[in-house]
Symmetry: C2
Subunit: 375 residues, 2 copies
């Protein structure tokens, strides 16, 4: 199985609606794959919040309307892991189909911020989270507290992660914060959101869409091989997991590496779902880059910087590339493909293999995928 | 591929929440299949409105929490076709997995009826429908108008369909309207909803859940073979299709019969998605039971009654069994399985083959499945 074509919109506050973003990303992916829509057998569509944000469900039929097609189109929702879960789900159908389109989209900037927070809150547990006043930034702050109690101070290292991701995002013209000048001082003095969590520890509210053509056979040397893609689930509420490790992401990563016949040391480039900087840090440990408590030390050494041993989030990550929920998991894979093709320009790293890590909730759903340069 | 176990809740206004309904249906299906959860490789979860109705998205993780599992769980949304689309989607993964659970659930009775109408309205096109004041009963009434203009009066026949489905539902102890005494007079004098559409032309607002175990191999003589399952999509808005035929359901039915190597004449039992009585009527024509304009004549002859040549909706259909949106498509298949097993009791018909027809919108998504008695 190969990703034979990719397309995306810029991420950020866009003057585009769901229709327009889907059409732009899909058209670009089809053109990049040199595959007309008539050769696409089915479409898998990722979106989280269009029912609540735009009052528009049945999005698969909206896409059929826009593309004027009658092929199967399936919409999958799994909050911030929607992109990864949709991709995971789509691959099964390649036992029957030759070419499919995978598309993720989210429109968030047209919603009042308080309403948006409520809408996003619906992806946490009604009983255990929502009724207790839990919102996701609180979850980020809670994990910082837990981590510091167990392993010591970590805020300087989180600021380093934020800076790294902003610097990477400044080399990615599609990124939400492309062109934004950010310094450590700016990060460390940014407004406190809750507890120790500051604004620059949080991913932004973005619009955007990403699409791939996925095929059973490679098209040319630019096709990127899908070595594995695995999923695991876990509890919906953070209150059911008191640790600094998220079992679902440990399981998904182990499954994906095993299925690809690789170890984490074999991976050249990693995209981690840094919804909050602390998530990037604990995930470094959960996927086995180091032992528990050692991620801060790796960060201080610049281990995951673009010029480090194991670059993480070369596109800027969720922090700087952006976080249009339904598209995010696919944006991570988009970066993996661009890097493995050697088309990443100024932010190019040396990579023959890449791993992407996409989560929903904290952590209720996790998809980890491994890619190899087309040979 | 076989359905090796089935389970469902009663449909109706239930004193059960999403958790409880999912658990009841899943537990029954696992017990019926004599397959413990540990042998289930993945779960596919159908739901339409939990984000809007219960403020609960990321339902796949909620299910992982309830079942205390970490296996892949994928949630699919496709409005009233959610059940069928989830089933269609799930079958691809049997190229890799042996046993999966397919589960559909919807909770509707705890929502204020005006709010519920708005929530259901989100499954129509924001621009072409919602902003014009379109709600689904209007769509039902519009199709009646179109049909009568082209082919003559039809209200008596629609009342016959409603009566047939209520009579069937009275033999189905799980049905929403089990035990309700209904007469032609009661149907014809029921309140007008809009245009010529009356209350008894409409399916009700139901809670409920249905689950299956689907396996690559049959378990025993009670296993029902999935001969085919196909999907087609179409325009989101009824305003884009001025006819009395719905291309997506014509396409899905033709694909499913072709894939099963059958003709409509080979099918013994049919479950049609009668969200409104007029949908059952036009679908009789779209799936090829008769030519255009001839469905009223077939209905007058009792062709689709339980004792007719081609029984339709022996469980009571959406009209009387109920319409818990995310579970509906699976409930139709549940009836197919019960009938093909010969376990339908008083409502048993003679059937070796069955076809189920599940739609979303009018008609933006359609899934048609064909089943054979296990041999």
């Amino acid at each position: 199985m190969y990703i034979t074509g990719i397309g995306r919109t810029k991420f950020g506050k866009l003057d585009l609606n769901l229709h327009e973003m889907m059409l732009e990303a899909a058209s670009k992916a089809l053109a990049d794959a040199k595959t007309p829509l008539e050769k696409i057998d089915a479409i898998f569509l990722s979106n989280n919040l269009s029912g609540l944000n735009q009052g528009q469900l049945h999005l698969n039929s909206l896409l059929a309307t826009i593309l004027q097609t009658d092929i199967p189109i399936i919409r999958v929702e799994s909050t911030c892991a929607s992109g990864g879960v949709t991709f995971y789900n789509s691959l099964f159908c390649l036992s029957r189909f030759k070419n499919i389109l995978v598309l993720g989209v989210e429109k968030m900037s047209d919603i009042d911020s308080k309403q948006l927070s409520t809408n996003i809150g619906t992806t946490s547990d009604v009983e255990l989270d929502q009724r207790q006043g839990f919102i996701f930034p609180v979850g980020g702050a809670m994990i910082i507290e837990r981590y510091e109690k167990r392993y010591g101070p970590v805020m300087d290292e989180l600021a380093e992660l934020s800076l790294k991701n902003h610097e990477n995002g400044n080399l990615n013209e599609y990124a939400h914060f492309y062109g934004k000048q950010v310094t450590l001082e700016k990060i460390k003095s940014s407004p406190v959101i809750v507890g120790k969590l500051r604004l620059y520890d949080c991913s932004p509210t973005s619009d955007g869409a990403v699409a791939f053509v996925v095929s059973t056979e490679k098209r040319d040397g630019r096709s990127v091989r899908i070595a594995s893609c695995e999923m695991a689930t876990g509890p919906l509420s953070l209150s059911l997991n008191p640790g600094t490790s998220m079992p679902a992401q440990v399981a998904a990563c182990q499954r994906a590496l095993k299925a690809a016949g690789m170890k984490i040391g074999d991976i050249d480039l990693i995209e981690i779902h840094d919804g909050y900087t602390i998530i990037e840090l604990i995930t470094m440990e959960d996927i086995g880059l180091c032992r528990r408590g050692e991620a801060p030390s790796l960060i201080r050494k610049g281990y995951t910087r673009r010029d480090g041993k194991k670059p993480v989030n070369t596109d800027g990550g969720l922090k700087a590339d952006g976080h249009p929920i339904g598209a995010t998991g696919l944006a991570q894979m988009y970066e993996a493909v661009v890097q493995l093709r050697g088309e990443a320009g100024e932010r190019q790293v040396s990579a023959r293999t890449a791993l992407t890590h996409n989560i929903g909730g904290m952590v209720g759903s996790c998809v980890v995928s491994v890619f190899r340069r087309g040979e």
